[in-house]
């Protein structure tokens, strides 16, 4: 009789990290569907292409590092990174844009740091910011919501056969910003921009964000993520927005508009919640997410970019270890929690 000897516990849950990651991928599907409904097939093509690029770069790099390729690919972390980045890119993105962004995210932001679990920054956001800085025009060419392109058109955009210029339209956040930098100061002026007035937030984007919210709630219900980061994120963004809007409703966008525009929900439920690069204790996560939300509101309202999820997340990734040091929970049998480095 050859007996297994091992340390306790002798039973473990049946799921694994790969299953965890797959749940995240499933939860993005409603968002992807709405993006397709609003803008055409661009996002689907982006996501699929991003996944291929990610798997190939990860495999190549694992081979170079002499790792077991199949074992590590099965953790699905590369796929999650690719899907998130693919969703964040505009549906007009040509193939090379995705290629550069995703390969950089996988190779530099993840594998060079030592692979899964070792990366201090959210790889998808590192890729996104690289593209945003290097190709600012290509990265801001969205389409007008509610006017989806056909698959052929999307494919031609992807392969670069169709010039973008004639098709692209501004997003609600863009419109709001441009209106203000052009000196719009009255309500009637804002009212003239139809895109700012959907059912309850920006046209089209309200549905995209609602879909991501639904996917996020699914993740919480499956205990893949806890409520701390999404709630902190949305509160950090929504509360200052509410306050400012009450003070000056013309200069500042209303909180619903803020919460349901741009990458707010995708950021709150899928990006800021990347556990590897986030703070780790419950309290730490709450603080971490509150600050991300706040930073997004500040940059949206006063900064030079229409949206700011990627920058804010990266900045807070940088501070996560520090937050961790000061947010240890109070251990059983201790009067207070330990603070500081050690």
């Amino acid at each position: 009789m050859s007996l297994i000897t091992s340390t306790s516990p002798h039973a473990t849950v049946k799921n694994n990290t790969g299953a965890f990651m797959r749940q995240v991928i499933y939860a993005t599907l409603p968002g992807l569907a709405v993006l397709t409904w609003q803008f055409g097939w661009g996002s689907v093509i982006n996501v699929l292409w991003a996944v291929i690029v990610a798997l190939v770069s990860e495999a190549l790099f694992l081979k170079a590092r002499g790792r077991n390729i199949a074992f590590y690919l099965k953790d699905y972390s590369a796929v999650v990174t690719a899907v998130l980045l693919g969703l964040a890119l505009p549906p007009t993105a040509p193939w090379w844009l995705t290629l550069i962004g995703v390969s950089f995210a996988i190779i530099v932001a993840k594998q060079l740091y030592g692979g899964l679990g070792m990366n201090p920054f959210n790889p998808a956001m590192v890729g996104y910011v690289l593209l945003l800085i290097s190709f600012p025009v290509a990265m801001t060419q969205w389409l007008s919501p509610g006017e989806p392109l056909s698959f052929v058109q999307s494919w031609q955009l992807f392969t670069g056969q169709l010039p973008v210029d004639g098709l692209s339209g501004a997003t609600p956040l863009d419109t709001f910003r441009t209106a203000h930098s052009a000196g719009a100061v009255s309500e009637s002026e804002l009212a003239s921009h139809g895109i700012l007035h959907g059912q309850f937030a920006g046209l089209g984007w309200e549905w995209v964000n609602l879909a991501f919210l639904l996917g996020g709630l699914y993740l919480i219900s499956r205990k893949i993520i806890t409520w701390h980061i999404p709630l902190g994120f949305l509160a950090g963004l929504g509360l200052p927005a509410l306050l400012a809007w009450l003070i000056d409703p013309v200069r500042f966008a209303d909180p619903l508009f803020q919460l349901f525009s741009g990458g707010a929900m995708l950021g709150a439920f899928f990006i800021a919640t990347d556990p590897v690069s986030a703070a780790t204790s419950r309290m730490g996560r709450l603080i971490y997410a509150l600050l991300i939300g706040l930073l997004i509101w500040v940059i949206r309202s006063f900064g030079g970019y229409p949206d700011a999820v990627a920058f804010s997340v990266l900045l807070l990734n940088l501070s996560a270890p520090f937050i961790d040091y000061y947010t240890q929970p109070r251990t059983y049998g201790h009067k207070s929690s330990n603070r500081g480095v050690s």
Partner: protein, 986 residues
């Protein structure tokens, strides 16, 4: 978040908790953080009643089935034993007896495999059963309230009862708290939260009445304000059975929601009382005592039926047994026999677990016996509990932190433990982890987290032990330094006194001798009490600082007090003796009284110390208690002596007194030599067992031998004296007779003392080499013996000087004594040029490299083991094996690299030492060694000369000795400093 906020949130939370509990739960069940809900698997074994286990051919009973000192065998191979007969008795405070679980013959006492994480063997008593199962005569107590609690505690101790829930802590300790500790709540742990286990469940269903009787006995012993039973809500039958049995008495049944680990002691306390046991404290300190239901049942059986703990209910379950269920198993039954009894229909077993699946241990050998703590045996097929899947990277998902009942951050602990960053791990409260395994259970990356924590905890403990060792060494060194100085002062004072005395004697002639003596003695007495007072002060200071060596200092104080008292008594004697020299008997009585007083105060102090130590959960409680016991014995003996002396005193007729001592001495000699023989035997036994304290025992044996020898010598002396001194009442003859005698006796004593000292030195060295724990103790013993020897020597010298009016003693004391003040700074100075910054840097690098090497090496070894396992089991194909091989090679290269770097750095450091001191490390070491051996030689020479040479030579020799000693110290110090500065501490 600030403290105030934390408190606020906690308060709000508890308000919510109370609101929520008002809706969902019965009143006053609190909740604890985290917890998991693994599949319960209890249905496998909870459907059938408890049935008797097998009667195997052989029973194997480990001597340490409990926490604490192993029991001491009372039987020898070949002895016939009956069921229930005590075969090993508890020794020390924390221990429990062992009884024969059935009748048969003891076939062996020796090492056998037992359940131990390290796979170690332990000493067991093996019984070949005879199948008769014949009980020894036993009788229960009809009404336990007629017995005092102390009697019952003793009964429990001798019934061998130890915590049956898992830890195996002797129950007699837990139910004997002393009067000062009020028990608020007695908690009966019937939670049984681990999956699979149903032993307590069945026990409650079938024997609720007996359990409740056991709880009543516990109540009688502890007198708690409230008694609560905690049962998980997945055992409705057990709950109703217990509720029925408790009807009409003051035991409250509390149903707690099913969640692992609600059965953890700390968690149960939190659930039922809302209290938290502060980190590092015991439940008793918050007024709570926890006992397992199984223990309560065992207590009932022991008290009311007179049946000691010889069996227990064990769950046999898992899909590797065809008849899972609960068996009343005889302790010592090999698991193999139990499996066979469970009708193992050739089913495939992949994993054998003793205990539950969450905290149990895998068995490497099915021959290990069931012990008092074995609540479950899981024989699982490879499908049921498969080999753990490969470890993936931690994604910091935080699932582990969500379920940790201690509210730790397991992911951070893992990170720091993996990087060997013990400081940070401790900062994250590593030591508060209860190793419940909830975190590892939920980890999606299947990281064996608990294994990492055990490793890190072991390292932390090791470090702490090393630290204590180093501190002790330092303190010993300092104490020794102080003692040397003090002895110097004492010696000087004595020398002065002697000089003075001789001078006066010469001046005043023999007539005034006694008064002179008195003056000298007064001086000596003054010095002694001064020294005593200084020591008291030092001890107090040390106590304030909470120094470790308090006990040592106290001993020192006591010693000095004794010296001072002696001196005082001598003064008194001299005073009384000079004019009248009348009542020596009364004097002796007074002295005895004094001694009795001292002895009993020493005893009391020891008892106090023992209690304090116990409260702190110190390890050496048992030792202290034993010490207290000896002291008490001492005090008692002295008291008896005093009584005797008192009765003798009035009728101080010479012949009686004369005859008595001889007889008494004879008796003492007899006692001492039998004690010596016993000690020798014990030492030998210990040697065989490879026990830690073998060295200790040997030293004890040596000491006893010395005592016996001395007594024999005394006896001889006394015999010689007896006939020769027919009229001891006459003071003049007495002095004449006794004059030469004391010198001889003292010489003898000196000889004995140095013998004892040498033996102790040897024992200590041996212990050092063995790395024994008690080396420090032995060293202090050595120091003490040396002090005694020195004192005796001094006394001898004094006596010699005093005995005949020798003319040569006084002037001879030349000025040689002043030389030992060799400048200590000489050697270390040269080292101060080392660039401290660089050294510090190097130290850091050294540390880092060491860790890197250790980790790499460990990983390499693990990988290698995994490879071998895979190869053996053929679970991996050639490609995978190849990949593993590559990995192994890489790890090995990594480890080698780290080692090379480490070596290079060490070399560099050594070169630096050479550059700065002009000597290399080896030279320094050699110098230190040489100095030490020269010192030893000198000591020996002195020893040899002591009896023969004149006092001049002796003085000269001892001053040389001192010079050598300080030289040795300098050499040692230089070496130590060099090593430390370069971070080379080995």
């Amino acid at each position: 978040m600030s403290q105030a906020q934390t408190n606020k949130t906690r308060k709000t939370r508890s308000v919510f908790a109370r609101l929520a509990s008002g809706i969902r739960r019965p009143a006053s069940i609190h909740d604890f953080h985290g917890g998991i809900h693994p599949p319960e698997m209890k249905h496998l074994s909870n459907g059938t009643p408890i049935v008797p286990g097998p009667l195997p051919q052989q029973l194997v009973l480990p001597l340490n089935m409990h926490i604490g000192a192993p029991a001491k065998p009372l039987v020898a191979p070949g002895d016939k034993v009956l069921k229930g007969q005590m075969i090993a008795e508890p020794i020390g405070a924390v221990s429990a007896a062992i009884h024969a679980p059935t009748s048969g013959t003891v076939s062996a006492i020796g090492p056998r495999p037992i359940q131990h994480p390290s796979g170690m063997d332990a000493v067991c008593i093996v019984i070949d059963t005879d199948g008769e199962d014949q009980w020894v005569e036993h009788q229960g107590i009809a009404d336990y309230t007629e017995k005092s609690p102390a009697e019952l505690v003793d009964l429990i101790r001798h019934a061998g009862i130890a915590g049956m829930g898992g830890a195996g802590f002797p129950t007699s300790i837990k139910v004997n708290l002393g009067d000062h500790q009020r028990v608020e709540q007695l908690l009966i742990n019937a939670v049984e939260c681990e999956p699979y286990i149903t032993a307590d469940d069945r026990l409650m269903r079938e024997r609720a009445e007996q359990i409740v009787t056991g709880i009543h006995i516990l109540q009688y012993l502890l007198n708690p304000r409230r008694t609560l039973i905690g049962i998980e809500d997945n055992k409705p039958e057990a709950i109703s059975a217990i509720k029925r049995a408790c009807k009409g008495c003051d035991i409250e049944v509390r149903v707690v929601p099913t969640k692992y680990p609600s059965g953890g002691e700390k968690q149960l306390i939190q659930l039922l009382t809302g209290k938290e046991v502060a980190s590092g404290q015991l439940p008793a300190q918050v007024g709570v005592v926890c006992q397992n239901v199984g223990t309560a049942y065992a207590i009932k059986r022991a008290v009311c039926d007179g049946e000691p703990l010889v069996s227990r209910v064990t769950t046999l379950t898992g899909d590797g047994v065809s008849q899972p269920g609960n068996y009343e198993v005889l302790l010592g039954t090999p698991v193999r026999d139990l499996l066979a009894h469970g009708n193992l229909a050739g089913l495939d077993i992949g994993r054998l677990v003793m205990g539950g699946p969450m905290m149990g241990f895998t068995l490497h050998n099915p021959g290990v016996p069931v012990v008092k703590t074995t609540n479950c045996i899981i024989a699982a097929s490879p499908e049921e509990l498969p080999e753990p899947p490969p470890e993936q990277p931690c994604i910091r998902c935080g699932s582990c932190a969500e379920v940790c009942p201690a509210n730790l951050l397991p992911q951070q602990l893992y990170w720091h433990a993996k990087n060997d960053d013990l400081e940070k791990a401790q900062h994250h409260n590593l030591m508060d982890c209860i190793e419940c395994g909830a975190c590892a259970y939920v980890c999606p990356s299947h990281i064996p987290l608990v294994q990492y924590y055990r490793y890190a905890k072991g390292e932390v403990r090791q470090q702490a032990a090393d630290q204590v060792k180093a501190d002790k060494a330092r303190q010993r060194f300092e104490a020794r330094q102080a003692r040397i100085e003090q002895e110097q002062a004492e010696k000087e004072a004595r020398r002065q006194a002697r000089l003075e005395a001789n001078r006066k004697k010469k001046e005043a002639g023999p007539a005034a001798a006694s008064t002179v003596d008195v003056a000298a003695l007064k001086q000596a007495s003054l010095d002694a009490s001064k020294a005593y007072k200084a020591a008291v002060k030092a001890a107090k200071a040390a106590e304030a600082e909470g120094a470790d060596n308090l006990a040592e200092l106290k001993a020192e104080v006591d010693r000095l007090k004794a010296v001072a008292d002696k001196a005082k008594a001598a003064v008194r004697d001299a005073k009384d003796g000079a004019p009248v020299a009348a009542a020596p008997a009364e004097d002796a009585v007074a002295k005895l009284k004094k001694q009795v007083g001292d002895a009993s105060s020493a005893y009391k102090a020891a008892v106090k110390a023992a209690k304090a130590a116990e409260a702190e959960g110190a390890d050496n409680v048992a030792e202290l208690k034993a010490q207290a016991d000896t002291l008490k014995a001492n005090a008692d003996a002295l008291k008896a002596e005093l009584r005797e002396a008192k009765t003798n005193a009035p009728a101080a007729a010479a012949p009686v007194a004369q005859a008595d001592p001889v007889a008494e001495l004879k008796k003492q000699v007899g006692d001492a030599s039998s004690a010596y023989k016993a000690a020798v035997k014990a030492a030998r036994q210990a040697d065989e067992d490879g026990a830690d304290n073998a060295a200790d025992l040997r030293a004890e044996a040596d000491r006893l031998k010395a005592v016996a020898d001395q007594l024999k010598a005394d006896l001889r002396d006394a015999k010689a004296n007896a006939p020769a001194s027919p009229a001891p009442t006459s003071p003049s003859t007495a002095t004449a007779e006794e004059q030469p005698d004391p010198v001889a006796a003292l010489k003898k004593q000196v000889g004995d003392a140095s013998l004892a000292y040498k033996a102790a030195v040897k024992a200590a060295k041996q212990a050092d080499e063995d790395g024994a724990d008690n080396a420090a103790d032995l060293h202090s013993e050595v120091a003490r013996l040396k002090a005694i020897a020195d004192q005796l020597k001094a006394e001898l010298r004094d006596a010699k000087a005093a005995a005949p009016p020798t003319p040569k003693a006084a002037p001879a004391a030349t000025a040689t004594t002043d030389s030992p003040a060799v400048s200590e700074e000489q050697a270390p100075q040269s080292l101060s040029e080392v660039d401290p910054e660089q050294a510090a840097k190097r130290q850091k690098r050294l540390k880092g490299l060491k860790t890197a090497y250790n980790m790499a090496h460990k990983q390499y070894k693990e990988a290698h083991a995994a490879y071998e396992r895979a190869e053996r089991n053929e679970t991996a194909n050639a490609d995978e094996l190849q990949a593993m091989q590559v990995k192994i090679d890489k790890l090995k290269a990594k480890a080698d690299n780290a080692r090379d770097a480490l070596d290079a750095l060490v070399e560099e450091a050594k070169a630096d030492i050479r550059a700065h001191t002009g000597k290399d490390l080896k030279t320094l070491k050699l110098e230190a060694a040489r100095a030490e051996s020269a010192l030893a030689d000198k000591q020996q020479e002195l020893e040899q000369q002591r009896s023969s040479a004149s006092e001049d030579t002796l003085e000269a020799l001892s001053s040389e000795l001192q010079a050598l000693e300080s030289e040795t110290q300098i050499a040692r110090k230089a070496l130590k400093q060099a090593v430390e500065e370069q971070g080379l501490a080995e």
